[in-house]
Every structure is written in structure tokens, then in C-alpha cells.
């Protein structure tokens, strides 16, 4: 690691990062999250919030919000994106995913519905053809002033960074759990039955700061938190 990188990391030492304390049982790690901490400060005095969790169904997250009197929506977009019926071809004959079909079955909510959206690492692992349409839809379903939290790997994380689920276990503490294979058959609002397979998602890309700013350009503000585990946490406000 270069001396410049070492100096850069020293500036952020003490901010969020993994504690590397395996939770009891399977492959779980805990990590402190500055982004989650900031969100918690925003919502701790609020009542009747409406939260959207875009990760795998998390009993911990559902319990966390419902115990505080809030409503939580759970929607696993990564698994939904593996539906083979989404496969189509673009004008050049390249295989892509049909974003219109995807958004017809997923993220179907009234405009300005959510106070908070937990994106976790979704943009890093979601197929390229879906990223911008999904972010556009998220903008529309967030209330003005609503906040979205997302995690992006830095280049130092490496191309084989495993995809994790995130469970809220404290005001600024997350439990990370590596995603295992899962098969599901679901029916979307259009009535069609889809079979989706979740199979150890691959990191699709590495965003730099400019890419992230461009991705969220329609949002009012953006804040970055750099963690020791080569993850960049991003908090955006609509």
C-alpha cells in the first residue's frame, strides 16, 4: 500500500469499518457504520416513519423498525434481478435485463412514500442495465428530504468482494452475512410467476466518487463516509 494511501487511511481511521468479531454461529461479522449512525440520529425522534429495505429479508431489520413504531417495507431487489424472464437484447444484440419489466414488478409504490431507503450494497452488485432506472425510481418514491443509504466498494476491495446481507443490530452497528444460494418463485403485480435464483452475486463495477455523484445527480445533497474495509458509505437526500 503506498504512503499516500496509508496517509489517506490514517485520516479516516476511527470512522466506520469492520470490528472483525465473528457473531456466534455462521459467517457473520459486525461493522460500525457512520452512515447508519447518521440515519439513526435523523430518525430516533421521529414517529411513524416509512422505511424501505432493499436487502434480503432481515428479521433483525424488521424488528428494529417495528419495535420503534415504524413501518418497514422489505424488497430483495438483487434476487429479483436474477429472474431469467428479464433477459432481453438491446439494439446491438447484447444481452441485457429489461428494466421496464423489472420496474413493472418491483419498486411499485406511490410517489414520495418513503422517509428512508436502505440500499446497502445494491448498486455494486446490480446488473448495469438496472442501476440507473432503479435509482431514478428510488428518487421518485422518496419523500422530499428523505434519505437513502448505500455502500460502494472502493477499488482496493478487489473484484471478488463477497456480497453481504446487512442486519441492523445497534444504532450504528451492522451485522454482515455472506449471501448464500436461494431459489424462489414469486408472482409480481403483473400476474406472471417468476423463478429467481440467488447465487453468490458478483461485484459488477467499482464506482469512483464522480460516478457516484453522477448516479445521484437528481438528489439534493450527498455525503461520503470512507470505511476501513474499503467500503464507501454514501448518504443522499432527496
Amino acid at each position: 500500500m503506498s504512503s499516500v494511501t496509508q496517509t489517506f487511511m490514517k485520516l479516516f481511521r476511527g470512522s466506520s469499518g469492520p470490528e472483525a468479531i465473528p457473531a456466534q454461529g455462521s459467517q457473520k461479522l459486525t461493522r460500525r457504520s457512520s452512515g447508519l449512525g447518521e440515519l439513526t440520529r435523523s430518525w430516533e425522534a421521529a414517529e411513524d416513519l416509512c422505511v424501505l429495505d432493499l436487502g434480503s429479508t432481515s428479521p433483525a431489520n424488521i424488528r428494529h423498525f417495528t419495535e420503534h413504531g415504524h413501518r418497514i417495507y422489505s424488497e430483495d431487489l438483487l434476487t429479483a434481478s436474477t429472474d431469467p424472464e428479464l433477459l432481453t437484447k438491446d439494439e446491438q444484440g447484447n444481452v441485457i435485463l429489461d428494466s421496464r419489466k423489472f420496474l413493472a414488478d418491483n419498486l411499485v409504490y406511490p410517489a414520495a412514500h418513503f422517509d428512508f431507503v436502505l440500499c446497502w450494497n445494491l448498486p455494486d452488485y446490480l446488473d448495469e442495465s438496472l442501476v440507473k432506472p432503479v435509482v431514478g425510481r428510488l428518487w421518485s418514491v422518496l419523500k422530499p428530504g428523505g434519505m437513502l443509504l448505500a455502500f460502494f466498494h472502493t477499488r482496493d476491495a478487489g473484484p471478488d468482494s463477497p456480497c453481504h446481507r446487512f442486519h441492523i443490530v445497534g444504532a450504528d452497528i451492522l451485522e454482515m452475512q455472506k449471501i448464500v444460494m436461494r431459489r424462489e418463485a414469486r408472482r409480481g403485480p403483473t400476474g406472471a410467476v417468476h423463478t429467481a435464483i440467488s447465487d453468490g452475486f458478483q461485484l459488477q463495477r467499482v464506482f469512483n466518487n464522480r460516478h457516484i455523484e453522477n448516479l445521484f445527480r437528481d438528489f439534493a445533497s450527498i455525503k461520503f463516509f470512507l470505511a476501513r474495509d474499503n467500503v464507501r458509505e454514501v448518504l443522499v437526500v432527496r
Binding site: T57, P59, T66, R71, E75
Partner: protein, 114 residues
């Protein structure tokens, strides 16, 4: 995995029902139901083979199979690890096992005992 107790009303896995299902006793459902299910004051268990495409209104609901529709429970909802639920859940309490799949809203309304 819970199995139905003897004496419990049951819908076996080969049974297909389309329409409104209502009753005043607990029900174990392991077949296919499409429509609506109303068991106010009683419990519904969707077995591992159960495929329900219906709105459900009951006192307590346990899901081990597939349920597509909104769930209204005056007491408790339990999603077991094999559950696949697409729909909104309103209950006083909820328990979700690791491995359960939910696409929808969870809204907890507690009524304080007086």
C-alpha cells in the same frame, strides 16, 4: 415444522379452492386457495405445500408455504424459514425466521392491555 393437530380443520395438499373461505375454527391449509380467507378469532396455518393467493384475516397466522396477498392478524403472524410471502402484513406481533422471504410491508399495531 408444525404439523396439524388431530381435530383441526384441514385442507389437504391436493385440494384446490377458489372463492371466499370463512370459518369459526382453526384451519390448517396445505392445498391451493385463491380468493379470500376470513377466520376472525381463529388461527390459520399455511403448510409447507400450501399455495395461497388470497387476502387473509385471522387472529393468528403461521406461514410455512407460499402466500400472496395481504395479511391482517388481530394477534400474531409467524413466518417460518420456508415461507414465501408477497403482500402487506398488519399484526400486533410478528416473528420471522431466518430464511423466510417477504416482499411487502410490515405494520405493527399494538393494543395495550387495560
Amino acid at each position: 415444522m408444525s404439523t396439524p393437530a388431530s381435530g383441526l380443520a384441514q385442507i389437504g395438499k391436493s385440494v384446490v379452492i377458489k372463492g371466499e373461505l370463512s370459518g369459526s375454527e382453526d384451519l390448517y391449509l396445505d392445498g391451493q386457495v385463491e380468493g379470500s380467507i376470513a377466520l376472525k378469532g381463529n388461527s390459520l396455518t399455511v403448510g409447507p405445500n400450501g399455495q395461497v393467493k388470497a387476502s387473509v384475516d385471522a387472529k393468528a397466522i403461521v406461514v410455512q408455504g407460499k402466500l400472496e396477498g395481504n395479511i391482517q392478524a388481530s394477534d400474531r403472524v409467524d413466518l417460518r424459514k420456508s415461507a414465501t410471502v408477497t403482500g402487506d402484513i398488519t399484526a400486533q406481533r410478528i416473528s420471522i425466521e431466518e430464511g423466510a422471504f417477504l416482499k411487502g410491508k410490515v405494520d405493527i399495531h399494538r393494543t395495550d392491555a387495560k
